[in-house]
Amino acid sequence: MKKVIMGNHALSWGAQLGRAQVIAAYPITPQTQVVELLSEMCASKTLDAKFIKVESEHSAMAACIAASIAGARTFTATSAQGLALMHELLHWASGGRNPVVMGNINRAMAPGWSIWTDQNDSLSQRDTGWIQFYCSSNQEVMDTVVQAFRVSEELMIPSMVILDAFALSHTYEVVDIPDQDKVDGYLPPFKPPVRLTPSDPHAFGGLTSPEHYFELRYKLQKDMEKVPDLVEETGREYEKLFGRYLGQVEDYRCDDAEIIFVTSGTAGYTARVGVDQLRQDGIKAGNLRIKMFRPFPFAKVREILPRAAKVAVVDRNISYGHHGVFYQEVKSALYGRDHDRPPVFGYITGLGGRDIMPETFKEMARMTLAKDKPEEDITWMGVKR
């Protein structure tokens, strides 16, 4: 069934198709419609889930964690300040190995108070041990929620499905919504290895001495390292069933490119238009959209980027006192590969919802191709100075 829906509703549809059993959420602009539709789905019983109203995002995540420990498939969604308020519980979910799936709408952090998009909210949660997927279309949002349940539950690691405020959250697109029974074939019911139940009582998350804490963290990292292969495998399986591949990265016209942009989110969609226009002008551009940011897709990045003479990383975020976060990560992925490492240029753009246009990509290509190496550590595109 094809429907024209907004990005936020694509998250709700994903949760319904995934048969989420417990939903606890607190509304925040620009996420509100995710929760609105989910509460309607629960009320009309198209989704057989317990909807828990809570007084804060911290409580929303706490409720999801508890329900997950009890063996329920759980879903929530938030944005920016709400995600920041959840921070402590994000560690509880990953450290406790509770495969909660959460939608996050990328919204710039206040102050100055903003409801528009950038990635500093979710990238600030980089080291919490959550899998992070950055989406660039409503279809991808819906599909990724279903895949995220599968990946998270298989490895017992929570996932964040991320989309840009307004550029995706409130943008209406055609989304192909698959049949429920076909999705059921792809995503089996959640069966955790252990769960909280009176018949087998356990204390969860109790005091852990230096004797064992270290090993718990080792195991989380080792399982995190299994995510890329599992995403590949489940993404191919999804493609077989539904015709849409869900991978770690999207490689657009990179094969013969002289310059490759590294992008994420909706900027990765705009980049394709920029790449096409540049090619019309005779510049061989390509785009590597990083969909899965955590764990970082090292193998894909190392395989694709050395094809080009130059790389331009486009960051809609800033790690104050360092560089753009994707820029840092791409450079670290290429470290030590001196024989095939193209110069990497870092651009900051689009903070606080400022538009990133195809022209922005043309300008970045011009600047990148004009120099052998970056003139500044980071280049701020379009800042008024």
Binding site: V194, G205, G206, L207, H212, E215
Partner: protein
């Protein structure tokens, strides 16, 4: 009193033995929180109406019901006084620990 596991430290030899989720690592078997206490609940069973409120309220699960009457497990009771506060007949006194 309820059968308790032997107070022995659980030590896993390899990471493979450590449970995936941090659970039931047994730290409370040897971490006797009763040592933190400076006042202790003393129950006057003559006035106890066997309501079980103290059992329900104790945050440390340090009260057991034995032969229908409450018994404090002093190995774990931290002496918070919640049981004494909640007891409807006020038959629990909090008494200074000596030594």
């Amino acid at each position: 009193m309820k059968d308790k596991k032997k107070a022995e430290k659980i030590i896993f030899k390899t990471e493979k033995e450590v449970p995936l989720m941090p659970m039931s690592l047994g730290s409370m078997l040897y971490n006797k929180t009763g040592a933190w206490r400076n006042i202790r609940p003393v129950i006057d069973l003559g006035n106890c109406i066997q309501c079980g409120i103290c059992w329900k309220y104790c945050p440390d699960v340090a009260i057991y019901i034995e032969n229908e009457f409450p018994v404090v497990d002093l190995e774990y009771c931290k002496g918070c006084g919640i049981c004494a506060e909640e007891c409807p007949t006020k038959c629990i006194a909090m008494v200074e620990e000596e030594k």
